[in-house]
């Protein structure tokens, strides 16, 4: 009653710029249900980090509790990780980010972890504009406790047991826009061609990047009548645009008629072929309109929703030193009696 992933890999796996193969970005074998959308998102995160040639030791994965929050065990096995208390991942992320601004932070959360027990933390992480990627693996139910409706379940969505949800859903994307998140996107676990470039853009983004990923719970919320099933999402999905992530120093080769280009802070770029009328990713009002319009039409709008490319993250707001605080040595932190005296004098 056990199963094991073989150690053999494809003999000619491509290498990225730092000479790593995808194997170097793998984690342990998933224990989630077969077909879980979360596994697909894990795969997309690993693939995005591989393609961006991020060194695994420069990544920290932070999570709370839930099926979603287990996933950091299943990708980036060579990276740092902290599996914290339910809904408290943003606090840990804040602390980690303050101590070391040089790492790439992945907050991995679920709809329960972010929209219910952790809502108070979630909103403050956005408000403070932590430089992190905040991935919500959103399946609209509590899969770990047999599929009760969660706060993101749509009004009218049917559970596997047959009951209909009577409450309105919290829309994390709308909430993120309202609270001033500087990168807001929605995607679908079953659409890696969209999800991977979004994750890459989110990593490159210098502030808080929220990606709400609809991730069907194959065991408890993949039934007819559910609005988070594979079939329902595929039937109702719409995209703001196609997304091409163009790394720094690489020439843009594709060209489209209705194309929009967003240059990111680090020099990389997003090449977007617009599919949605009247939408401009750098105009929050148009983004909010797009979201509301789709909602009224019963569509699920995915893709990049909003971006503010040149944003000031928490460290910039606080004007802390560029050197990660955790590397400051005693002589700098404790400059001695004379320095203290000089400081006191300057304040008299």
């Amino acid at each position: 009653m056990t199963y094991v992933r073989p150690t053999f890999r494809h003999p000619d796996l491509p290498k990225n710029k730092i000479n790593f193969t995808k194997k170097d970005y793998e984690g342990a074998l998933s224990t989630l249900c077969a077909g879980c959308g979360h596994d697909s998102i894990s795969g997309a995160i690993a693939q995005a980090c591989f393609e961006l040639s991020v060194e695994p030791h420069r990544i920290a994965k932070l999570s709370g509790i839930g099926c979603s929050s287990k996933t950091p065990a299943y990708f980036l096995g060579n990276s740092h990780g902290f599996n914290s208390v339910h809904g408290r991942m943003p606090s840990v992320a804040t602390g980690a980010y303050l101590a070391n601004r040089d790492l790439v932070y992945f907050g991995v959360s679920g709809d329960g972890d972010s929209a219910s027990i952790g809502m108070g933390q979630f909103v403050h992480a956005i408000r403070r504009n932590l430089n992190m990627v905040y991935v919500v693996m959103n399946n609209g139910c509590y899969g770990l406790t047999k599929g009760q409706d969660s706060a993101t379940a749509d009004n009218g969505s049917k559970s596997k047991a047959g009951s209909t949800n009577l409450f309105n859903a919290i829309d994390l994307v709308g909430l993120g826009l309202e609270l001033g998140a500087t990168f807001v996107a929605r995607s679908f676990s079953g659409d890696k061609t969209q999800l991977i470039p979004l994750i890459k853009a989110a990593i490159s983004h210098p502030g808080f990047a929220l990606i709400d990923v609809i991730s069907p719970c194959v065991t408890f919320n993949n039934n007819v009548g559910s609005t988070k099933s594979y079939d329902y999402v595929r039937e109702h999905i719409e995209a703001t645009s196609t997304v091409d992530f163009v790394p720094v120093m690489e020439e843009i080769t594709a060209s489209y008629d209705d194309a929009k280009e967003v240059t990111l802070h680090d020099g990389s770029a997003l090449h977007l072929q617009k599919l949605h009328q009247g939408w401009n990713p750098e105009d929050k009002l148009s983004a909010m309109n797009a979201i509301q319009n789709s909602k009224e039409k019963g569509e699920i709008l995915t893709g990049l929703i909003y971006i503010e490319p040149n944003t000031n993250a928490l460290h910039d707001v606080l004007q802390t030193t560029k050197t990660p605080l955790n590397t400051l040595k005693e002589d700098l932190l404790c400059p001695g009696v004379d320095a203290l005296e000089a400081l006191n004098q300057s304040l008299r």
Binding site: V4, F8, A34, N222
Partner: protein, 597 residues
């Protein structure tokens, strides 16, 4: 691409690389699993059914399966398939009750087999259980053909050969040993319903025109004749200094046999570069292990003899030059000729067919190389009553090819004797069964082990060089045999995909350790191969392409090349769109009864 037609049995057959590469299509993974389960007798019988001589082939096969083995494409070395076959043979129990029963009443048809080598014995094995009266003719005192006369006892003990030859001869075969057939016409005149010719390639090539050949003649021997003479104990010694000419497996057998008959300074001298020698790599290694140097790039110039006594040979040094088409020519280096001393020279530079005993007015057409025109599927000659097989049919190959041709010829003879057309071949037997037992449970060992290929232990050199009958290889013991068996990837357990169950969750694509699976929009094969998740390395390895998937209009494409058959795709599939199903393929054989078709 069109969806792959998995209902064509050849599709899944090709995925089982070893079985597909085996001329007799032995179900290799099937018997390897039986070995792992300590069911040696059953493993032996799976072999016996397909290749007739598991004990012989487990020691001497040319192993076309091993270079084909998928493990060799992901690991350093392939599974030691050949030596596992020997494990089955060494450890089997009594098989007499498992051998076919001969009907008490014959079918009234008489078949003559000329030559008692592997091809003829295979025909005998396949036809005797159907009630045919089989008469086998051979000039030697016992059956086995070249397996007895050319393969030395230190590689193949006589007891092993005797057992497997007798298993066939005991099926009521009429034996005519010590009977040289000097006229095919007389055989045909005896009224046989069909005649099968399995006389091998009995004539060794010689260097008749090389200067000194006549004067040194007493000490110059043709390799295969000399090996036969040793095997039948007419020759019991050789000089201290021996030159073996040639780079094939016969040369390796000659030099190693020489070491056992008194040769102290034995050298193999070959025209081609070392890397291009025809001998199997392991046979070259075994020769070198017995202190036999291999001198490559030496072309014989002359035999040197004084007063009618051989002194040695003169060679010209060459190097290989290749033209733009890759054709090789050996160009002299210009260095002075090399003289190598020798008391005896063994010429092992190839062997040929020889049909002086076949009258040319019997309706059997011969081509310009004096080879009979034989159909490569039916093995029938232009005289419909006369069939060929083994080295006699299409030129010298190896034992396993002779067996495969024997099976085909037996099918043809059976069809012919029933008055049925030969080109309508009976289908192979195939079966495809799910291996799922429960959650995370499969009825095969799906876990891929990391062991390197195990080395077969050998007996002490000091002992084996003293006794030409002492077997050098000791074979795997049961434990090592088990471990080596566990290296098998079970390629016959197929990844079967059912598109209408797939919900496109990507789980299989994410979990696949070797990135075999891609979901993408359809295209031509050439185009698809550029868009796979991992590079497509071998174009001869098929792509499994699904029908268009309902949800997204994409297709599932699986590159069969480096699939580990670990079953993780099926484990992670929530809807059982993937399943691991064992494919059993048993190539057509006469004794299954062509009559039922």
């Amino acid at each position: 691409m069109e969806p792959t037609n998995v209902h064509d049995p050849e599709y899944y057959h090709k995925v089982v690389d070893c079985q597909y590469a085996c001329p007799a299509h032995t179900p290799v993974p099937e018997y390897i699993r039986l070995i792992a389960a300590e069911k040696y007798t059953e493993a032996y019988m799976v072999n016996w059914e397909s290749n007739v001589f598991p004990g012989v082939l487990g020691r001497t096969c040319d192993r076309p399966c091993e270079p084909a083995c998928r493990r060799g494409r992901v690991d350093e070395e392939p599974v030691a398939i050949c030596r596992l076959k020997r494990v089955a043979a060494d450890n089997k129990g009594d098989i007499t009750h498992l051998l076919p029963k001969i009907p008490s009443k014959g079918n009234g048809k008489r078949i003559a087999l000329i030559g008692a080598g592997p091809a003829s014995l295979t025909v005998a094995r396949d036809l005797a259980p159907l009630g045919y009266e089989i008469h086998v003719f051979d000039e030697q005192i016992k059956g086995g053909g070249m397996m007895r006369s050319q393969i030395p006892s230190f590689r193949l003990p006589e007891s092993v050969l005797d057992e497997e030859v007798n298993n066939i001869l005991n099926l009521g075969i009429h034996q005519h040993f010590k009977t040289y057939v000097s006229s095919l016409k007389s055989v045909l005149d005896d009224g046989y319903d069909a005649v099968f010719i399995g006389t091998g390639a009995p004539r060794g090539r010689d260097l008749t025109n090389l200067p000194g050949r006549a004067e040194g003649g007493a000490n110059i021997h043709v390799g295969i004749e000399w090996l036969a003479s040793v095997a039948f104990e007419h020759t019991k010694s050789i000089g201290k200094k021996v030159i073996v000419l040639g780079g094939g497996n016969t040369a390796m057998d000659c030099c190693r046999t020489s070491r056992r008959l008194g040769g102290e300074d034995v050298k193999v001298v070959v025209r081609s570069p070392y890397s291009e020698m025809k001998a199997s790599p392991w046979e070259k290694e075994d020769a070198q292990h017995e202190d036999i140097p291999i001198l490559d790039n030496h072309v014989p110039v002359s035999f040197v003899a004084e007063n009618g006594k051989l002194k040695g040979m003169m060679f010209e040094k060459v190097h290989a030059v290749y033209d733009e088409k890759g054709k090789r020519s050996l160009v002299p280096t210009g260095e002075p000729h090399v003289f190598i001393e020798a008391d005896d020279v063994l010429v092992a530079i190839g062997q040929e067919n020889y049909f002086p005993w076949i009258e040319r007015d019997l309706g059997i057409e011969f081509d310009k190389w004096d080879m009979p025109n034989v159909d490569s599927t039916t093995f029938q000659s232009t005289n419909p009553k006369v069939f060929f097989g083994g080295d006699a049919a299409l030129g010298p190959k190896n034992v396993i090819t002779a067996v495969a041709q024997g099976h085909s010829a037996a099918v043809s003879i059976d069809l012919y004797c029933q008055g049925k057309p030969l080109d309508v071949r009976p289908d192979p037997f195939t079966n495809l069964v799910s291996q799922k037992m429960g959650i995370h449970e499969w009825s095969y060992d799906s876990i891929v082990t990391n062991d390197d290929r195990f080395v077969v232990p050998q007996a002490e050199k000091a002992l084996t060089l003293k006794d030409r009958k002492k077997e050098v290889e000791l074979g795997f013991d049961k434990l090592v045999g088990f471990k080596e068996a566990e290296r098998c990837l079970n390629c016959d357990v197929q990844t079967v995909f059912t598109e209408n169950r797939c919900i496109e969750c990507d789980a299989c694509m994410d979990i696949c350790p070797t990135d075999c699976i891609t979901f993408t929009v359809n295209g031509t094969e050439e185009d698809l191969r550029t868009r796979l998740k991992a590079p497509s390395l071998h174009l001869n390895q098929d792509l499994l392409v699904s029908d268009t998937l309902a949800a997204t209009g994409r297709v599932m494409v699986k590159d069969e090349d480096v699939c580990l058959h670990c079953g993780l795709c099926a484990e992670r599939c929530p809807t059982s769109a993937w399943d691991m199903q064992k494919f059993f393929y048993n190539t057509t054989k006469a004794h299954h009864g062509c009559g039922s078709h």
